[in-house]
Amino acid sequence: MADAPVQPQRLLSRRGLERLDLLLLSAEALDLNGGEAMVWLSEEMGLTDLFPNRVELWKRRCSNPLRRTTRRDRITEAEADGLIRILNALADRLYPMLRSLLSSAEPPQLSEQRWALFRSRLQELLKERFNPRRGGVQRLLDPQEGPQLCRELIQTMALSAGPGGFTRLKASLMDAAA
């Protein structure tokens, strides 16, 4: 029997890795137990072969070049898929919160308070874990540009949730370098 044709490896680009880790960080900013939820979801979804423990999960996320302590080794396609699946499940759990942030039907004052809370938590996490000298981090911390970028992160999470979210987000993370 002839061997099946070998599919070319589809590794995430540098930008794809940055976005994926930023989205996971956004999930942590929305949910104070987000870090624990990732470990729990990873076990729940049977990803223990890829991420046997929280340290390995952490190491894979540290492939993001925007991190303070970044790892040079690129993550494999299976590892990237695992992280995207975790994000997909997190976004699904957080969907009511994502929706309330995006909805224009919410009272404006309440909506602004929610956004301010999310942005402040995200900024704390960024300052703690990311390299503040990188342009991508500075833009997120910028008072002018940051809010729009935060909204894009939340919108991406909302469209990454649910049954079709995995393929949509994966395709987006594989975009050509702009």
């Binding site: 039907a105 894009e152 395709a171």
Partner: protein, 198 residues
């Protein structure tokens, strides 16, 4: 026996009605032939249509959502299709065009949350094993560089090449200011005679 499938998500309710296609060997609980569908979006008119309209809806909404997730708001739906969607004032506008002449199109504004709800309903329909209606689902693909180009502001796109050109010009200017080395003179160099010891 008429079958119904419902997909609900906060502001959106999509209901499919149909019959099992027993001739195709489908189960009696599977919708194989679509007799109609209805789509209710919160606070807006309830829409009804046939398979072609549902196909037109997912042909525009899913690629539009695919673009948005990459930060690209690109209108979807040509002039001759029954459904179109486009970005309007930071929101989205779903346009439904009637096949009846002289009937103006129905335009429904959707905010980001309502669009996400609609996308989730369509996703659930796609993966529902109880629905085997022949529909073509757009496959999400990575965007090409040209499709992403307008995502970055012009100033940031041209910043790197302009800096490069400016650096080259400055370097060239500075280099031109340096004195050129003088050619070696043709006169023989003075040779000092060694002092004679004695």
């Amino acid at each position: 026996m008429k079958l119904t499938s419902r997909y609900e998500q906060t502001s959106c309710r999509l209901v499919l009605e149909g019959l099992p296609d027993l001739s195709a060997g489908q189960s009696s609980q599977t919708i194989g032939i679509l007799t109609g569908f209805s789509l209710a979006l919160a606070g807006k008119t309830e829409l009804e249509g046939q398979r072609d309209h549902l196909q037109a809806l997912l042909n525009v909404v899913l690629p539009y959502a695919r673009g948005l997730i990459s930060g690209v708001s690109r209108p979807q739906g040509a002039e001759d299709v029954p459904v179109a969607i486009r970005p309007v004032d930071g929101q989205h506008e779903l346009e439904l065009r009637s096949s009846q002449p002289d009937t103006p199109p129905l335009r429904l504004p959707l905010d980001d949350a309502e669009l996400s709800d609609l996308v989730r309903c369509l996703d659930r329909l796609q993966l529902d094993p109880q629905v085997a209606v022949p529909l073509e689902w757009p496959d999400p693909q990575p965007l090409r560089r040209s499709e992403l180009r307008h995502r970055l502001p012009l100033a940031r796109r041209v910043a790197a090449p302009l800096t490069g050109v400016a650096a080259l010009l400055v370097a060239g200017l500075l280099a031109s200011l340096l004195p050129t080395p003088k050619p070696p003179s043709s006169a023989p160099a003075a040779v000092s005679t060694p002092a004679r010891g004695g």
